[in-house]
Symmetry: C2
Subunit: 391 residues, 2 copies
């Protein structure tokens, strides 16, 4: 079948606040291929994704992404690989490319799955999707008391694992961070899996991270995530041995397979966290899973937003039985919470399962798309290059 | 002084062709700081840079770049470092950030140099700017005869060095590439410095590059540039020993210091090529020069477009006396050729010298800006976020 059209929907909460919550806006992608409709989502700035999709050509390897997608054949997985290669080649000089390609690649897998009547994970070569243990992803409170309160809350909700991140963590004295860590442990109870996300707060300053190792060990955190920015591999590898037995986690900033492989090979990670909505889609995410598993690195999805993004991010490691932990959005914005009518909910054991349905198994709700759609327009040289599509 | 305003000028030739010529459009940046005006340029897609500068905030580290620039103090070099750090932190989740920051950083150095009445290279800590040997940057001809013709032409123009790249090279049989290489050598004469640019044609396929090593050695090429994409470090390091004594060159795709340092440490490069208009500006480019020099790697600018970009790209290694070779735009589009009224021209020995003038020493010509300005507008949620500025 042929890719007939690609539409980009820019969604947003009426007010976007200056907080560590990436679920306040969204860029949802609809691909029409033959008679099938595929949906995808980038975890990225909507306007930047739109610009890279429609921008005028600057030169032969600085073309708009649409030049390599619309009109292409889509008959099997090899076409998705081919289209991805074409996009990366023709749009090499647009930095935003990998983020935008992500949502398109996801939508192509969804459309292909629907056509072939298979869940995406089967098209990726997995026989089955194993259940995953979702961890609730939360922000540290402003005060340790608030962190304690939230930790108790997620425990009461039945989560076995919780991740605390951002907020004041890493910005003040190490003693205050330690108080937050102990509060989180207290709230989760001794059995709870406690994960900590530093949100790149120390950029590449190993000595700052080193001051928090002892408290992380005391509270028996399972991992410390993103103490540094994604490319600061030397800083990661310097910290890793100091942190043990706490594992080092990172990788959500990786926007191609090369970056992720380097993190796996050189950063001393125990966990590689990949967002299918950033790395270029399900295709490169699966490559990373294939690379990580035999090297003893646990693959974990990065997902903070919608259940469409969640399904996409789970597919690449669905068949890895030992890679059990998964990020699960717990407090998304109303818009992100309502994006899909189907939801991937924990069962009575608190485990989650990918839908056994063609494609991704979840779809945006047209009502939600309509309600949160942002009216946007880009004009260049008298021509309208983009105008918000109708649903 | 305070940064009062930042304007982005999108320029373009009336027709942009699907060829390996990145000089067909441009994004020029004007910064007003106190009573001084600084100019900069990104070597990047104009619409994408504009989008990242004005986009609505998505969350706390996905802010438009302007949020971290406008209204900031600019009194010394430390302010430019501070603003760059702020941009990278606040716009971390916008991939396009480094490209856009590049032109802003350059304009800030220009404005600061004017205020302190010093050329930028002196503000970077260099006592003087050493002359550089420009190489003419050309495309391979469609046929070897055409390559020969162009090689003779640049030799007649007085260039001691020339680089041939892109075009058919690497796409067909190795024998045809060899014919082009011999034609280039014949045209330049035995004394000419011959450089070859593969334009990432083999992505990360070492075996394809290996088939061309013998011909490159026969014609005594000084370097082979970008056989692979910038992140494919393993492929670079595998090729490097096969290529000797021909050197390996690369790095123009680096969009931060981490990537460049990795290329220096692990890719087996003899030459690291940095575009100040892509890596985030003069500030990170100078960091790369500082890192490369003591490691015996020769720093080379990447510049294919204007003399504004050329001045910016030369500043970071102006004071490195041994790093003599520099890229020099020879066949830019009419728009790029006319962007600045001052030009950096070879002297009677064929050497070029940075202007001994405050800032960058070259400025856009208002007439050219007006003539090639593209009318563009971005509206989101009923608000005009961008409209082409007046000059």
């Amino acid at each position: 079948m042929k890719i007939e059209s690609v539409d980009l929907f820019y969604l947003s909460m009426p007010e976007v606040r200056d907080i560590a919550d990436g679920s306040q806006d969204a860029i949802v992608i609809r691909v029409q291929a033959g008679e099938y409709v595929g949906w995808g989502e980038c975890d990225a700035s909507p306007l930047n994704c739109i610009a890279s999709y429609v921008c005028p050509m600057s030169w032969s390897v600085c073309k708009p992404i649409r030049a390599s997608v619309e009109g292409q054949r889509l008959d099997g997985p090899e076409d998705i690989h081919r289209i991805g290669d074409l996009v990366r080649e023709n749009s090499m000089d647009i930095l935003q490319t990998d983020h935008t390609l992500s949502g398109i690649d996801i939508a192509l897998w969804d459309a292909l799955g629907k056509r072939l009547n298979e869940p995406v994970y089967r098209l990726l070569g997995y026989d089955r999707a194993y259940p995953k243990t979702p961890y609730a992803s939360l922000l540290f409170g402003d005060e340790p008391q608030e962190t304690l309160y939230h930790a108790r809350q997620v425990r009461d909700l039945g989560y076995r694992a919780a991740k605390f991140g951002w907020g004041p963590f890493g910005h003040g004295a190490p003693e205050i961070d330690a108080e937050h860590l102990h509060a989180a442990r207290e709230g989760l109870g001794p059995e709870g899996i406690l994960l900590v996300d530093a949100g790149t707060v120390w950029r590449d300053r190993v000595y700052e991270a080193a001051k928090r190792c002892e408290a992380l060990q005391e509270v028996e955190a399972t991992w410390l995530e993103e103490p540094f920015v994604s490319n600061a591999v030397e800083a990661y590898s310097a910290l890793a041995p100091m942190l043990l037995p706490v594992g080092l986690a990172g990788g959500e900033g990786c926007h191609d397979v090369y970056m992720a492989r380097r993190m796996i090979d050189e950063a001393g990670l125990a966990y590689i966290q990949i967002d299918a909505g950033r790395i270029g889609g399900i295709t490169p995410a699966k490559e990373v899973a294939d690379y990580a598993a035999p090297r003893g690195i646990t693959y974990v999805n990065h997902t903070f937003t919608t259940h469409l993004a969640l399904s996409a991010s789970l597919q690449p490691f669905a068949g890895l039985a030992e890679h059990t932990i998964c990020e699960y959005p717990v407090e998304p914005s109303e818009m992100s919470a309502r994006l899909t009518s189907e939801r991937i909910l924990p069962d009575e054991e608190g485990q989650i399962h990918l839908p056994d349905a063609p494609g991704l198994g979840v779809e945006p709700d047209p009502e939600t798309l309509r309600e949160f759609l942002v009216d946007a327009e880009i004009r260049v040289g008298g021509q309208v290059l983009y105008r918000s599509p109708t649903i």
